[in-house]
Amino acid sequence: MTGSAVGPSAAVPSVPSAPHAPAQKRDSLLSRILVTLAESRELTLFVLIVILVVAMTVLYPNNFPTESNISAILLNAAQNGILVTGMMLLFIAGFFDLSVGSILALSGVWAGVVVAQWGYPAPVGILVGCTVGILAGAFNGFLVTRVGINALITTLGTLAIFRGLTYVTAGTGVTPIGDEFKTYGQTDFLGLQSPFWVMLAIVVVMAWAVSRTAFFRQYYFIGGNARAAQLSGIRVARLTFTAFVLMGFLAGVAGVLGAARLNSAVVSAGIGVELSVITAAVLGGASLRGGEGSIIGGVLGVLFIALVSNAMIINGIGVFWQPIVTGTVLLLAVSLDRFRRSRRA
């Protein structure tokens, strides 16, 4: 009986589950909508966001739907929106990165130092900031794929190392950086500042690439079953490395934009941001097992969290309650998922 897959736990449902079998049958429109809604995390989130927006508009017509409030929400969501695209890709492949906040700060600080202290033009500072992000991501990728340390430990370590490097580089930070530099973070277009537009561009490109291109589809296979992916000819190690590098680059972009927006490279930038980005990704359908999730889901997760915190500030519940609400929503979403899964099985 060597190695054969028999055992009480190996029971495989041989018959496709009955409720799904007659797919052609016409259900009522309402029930079809409900089923689709329950099946897709993106749709669930989207509907929740719409409900939240409508409720807030009705309840606080003078505070919520104003141009300045909306643009503030979107601007605040820009940083996490950029980060969540990379985080989602890592989650799809079965990994994650805790060091994004530190990479973000390190990149911003390097951009600031190059421009403000060394006197280089702003584009050079941006380039250096992004390169620092790429290098930091490459270091993470190297440790995970070549040295073989798991992603949790690796990025827990580099979370501290990169933050430390930030302090070593800039002490208390760089303020102000320069007028040319700040235009990259403060230019208005259609009433919204540049970080939002950069985020939108990144989200659109990443969402398209991850859902449609053969290259990025490989990450779903890696997360689904890394060994099978390897044996199917997918270069698991190389792709994993690439995902970490991409994450580092995106954190670099977010860091540079943040520094430009404030015209200041803050050494404490991005502390704790990894947890809110991971929360958004999981809300958006990522799972620790890997193999599932979408960029759009992650971005909707970010938007949802941003809206919730905005709503709580407006109706005066107080910032202290915010994490309690976010955490509860997260656990509810995941419990719902587990419940659905167990019922289906």
Partner: protein, 511 residues
């Protein structure tokens, strides 16, 4: 039920009465009865999948039998778990081992019943002393405080035995204990086992190595397809008789037709790949199906993985259509026209949470996309083609793979490897965990592929399957190719004799 105790029964340590055990899709044990006397070393012999390990696990309380009863020293054991079994003096040394590598020898030996001092604190001195004493009894020198990960396989096995001895040991079950031991270590283990049996401990020795049984055991019970085919005194039987008992069964399937083979597609010369594969040489021609046969652990899967680029070779030459190749990874092998269906479809073959269409496309993402953009239509079309070609029964191309039956999963795996249109297909255990109907279909598909000029290598532990499929049988033992047989004329006995050749020499073990 009260057992009427006759004098003969009193000598029986263990009695198994018509035991049945079913796993989903497999009748693992069918009406199995046998007994073990006091101080006897009793072998359970059978091919892979014959039910030996299952029987051992039922006796040791790891599995619960569906029907039948087990008596220990005349008392019926009800439904017992491993813990109770251990308390009753039944110990199993598993194939895969049950020690915690980070803990010390003493902690492992007394896992769960360490001697205590006040407040439930473990008496380390006492447990170290008693471990030391056990090791002395067993005649080995292993420090009680050494962490288990620092031990060799053989030493770890002795620790497992000591763990059994830490209770009042009545019955010791060993499952393929010598699979990863050297000959010297094996000889030492046998010595320990003999000493134990002399002191009255009964031993069930599970193995498929004939030579060991003649060396060590008193009696042998042979299992085949979950049923007992006979119990013999070792002194009154022969290897030939035991082999007949192991394999004598009806042939279920018709042999496929042979096609005239074409040019040589794969040539392997003295290939080595540490640690298992030492010296492997064989050839496969277009339109030919070659089976790699041998016992578990002979290095067949490892040899295939070395050809496919999963493991780097440490020596030898592999040629594909006359050209020497050295792949950096499976991607290179696939590009060169090789496909490999791995042994365990759930662990290494398929993406169970993905759809049928995605699984089939996994090896050919480039083929179903234009300018790097995936075409859902192309994926769908390809999936539909293979679903009808291979007769895969699934409600749609979007069905998640975990919802298909084993046979259909296996066919999806086959489709996944036909999609890149390889010229050489390696199939590791084509029908494991697959029902008879799907099995026949897979044989038919492999036959068709052969006719289309594919070169096929099949690794199988199922001898009737090998004899049904193979044009040529290459037999491996201990990481080496030890012989070739013609598939049309070979018998199971011949294959087994070659596969066990190295161990069949009793002097080798006595060393």
């Amino acid at each position: 039920m009260t057992a009427d105790v006759s004098p003969a029964d009193q000598l029986l340590r263990l009695e198994v009465r018509s035991c049945w055990k079913e796993f989903p899709g497999v009748q693992a044990l069918q009406d199995v009865s046998f007994d073990v006397r006091r101080g006897e070393i009793h072998a359970l012999l059978g091919e892979n999948g014959a039910g030996k390990s299952t029987l051992g696990k039922v006796i040791g309380g790891v599995y619960q039998s569906d029907a039948g009863e087990v008596l220990l020293d005349g008392n019926v054991l009800g439904r017992i778990d491993e813990h109770t079994a251990a308390r009753l003096g039944i110990a199993i040394v598993h194939q895969e081992g049950s020690l915690v590598p980070q803990l010390s020898v003493a902690e492992n030996v007394f896992a769960g019943h360490a001697p205590k001092v006040s407040f439930g604190r473990v008496d380390r001195k006492e447990s170290a002393r008693r471990t030391k004493a056990l090791m002395m009894d067993l005649g080995v020198d292993i420090a009680p405080e050494a962490p288990v990960y620092s031990l060799s396989t053989a030493q770890a096995q002795v620790v497992e035995i000591a763990k059994g001895l830490s209770h009042e040991l009545r019955l010791l079950i060993l499952d393929e204990p010598t699979a990863s031991l050297t000959l010297t270590e094996t000889a030492r283990l046998f010595e320990i086992l003999r000493r134990l049996s002399d002191s009255g401990v009964s031993i069930i020795y599970i193995s498929h190595r004939l030579a060991e049984i003649f060396q060590l055991c008193d009696r042998v019970t042979v299992l085949k397809d979950g049923a007992v085919t006979g119990t013999r005194d070792v002194t009154a039987t022969t290897q030939d008789e035991l082999i007949r008992l192991m394999v004598g069964r009806d042939v279920l399937f018709q042999r496929g037709e042979t096609v005239p083979p074409g040019e040589v597609v794969l040539e392997v010369e003295h290939m080595a790949s540490s640690p298992v594969v030492e010296d492997v040489s064989f050839q496969v021609r277009a339109g030919e199906l070659v089976c790699l046969s041998g016992l578990v652990g002979a290095g067949r899967s490892e040899a295939c993985q070395a050809i496919f680029g999963v493991h780097r070779r440490s020596g030898g030459v592999v040629r594909l259509s006359g050209k020497e190749v050295d792949f950096g990874g499976p991607w290179d092998a696939i590009a060169a026209g090789i496909g490999m269906m791995p042994e365990d479809r759930k662990v290494a073959g398929l993406f169970l949470g993905h759809s049928v269409a995605q699984n089939i496309a996994a090896t050919v993402l480039g083929k179903v996309s234009r300018n790097g953009v995936l075409s859902r239509q192309a994926m769908e079309d390809m999936a539909k083609r293979y679903i009808s070609d291979l007769n895969i029964s699934t409600p749609s191309t979007q069905q998640l793979l975990e919802k298909l039956s084993g046979g259909n999963q296996q066919k999806v795996l086959l489709a996944k490897w036909l999609a890149p249109e390889p010229r050489l297909l390696i199939v590791d255990e084509p029908t494991r965990g697959v029902d008879v109907g799907a099995r026949a279909e897979i044989y038919r598909i492999l036959g068709d592929l052969k006719k289309r000029g594919l070169a096929i290598v099949v690794v199988s532990s199922d001898l009737p399957e090998v004899l049904t499929l193979a044009d040529r049988i290459v037999v491996m033992a201990y990481g080496r190719t030890v012989g070739e047989l013609d598939g049309a004329t070979a018998t199971e006995e011949e294959v087994l004799r070659l596969a066990t050749k190295t161990t069949a020499d009793p002097t080798a073990l006595a060393a």
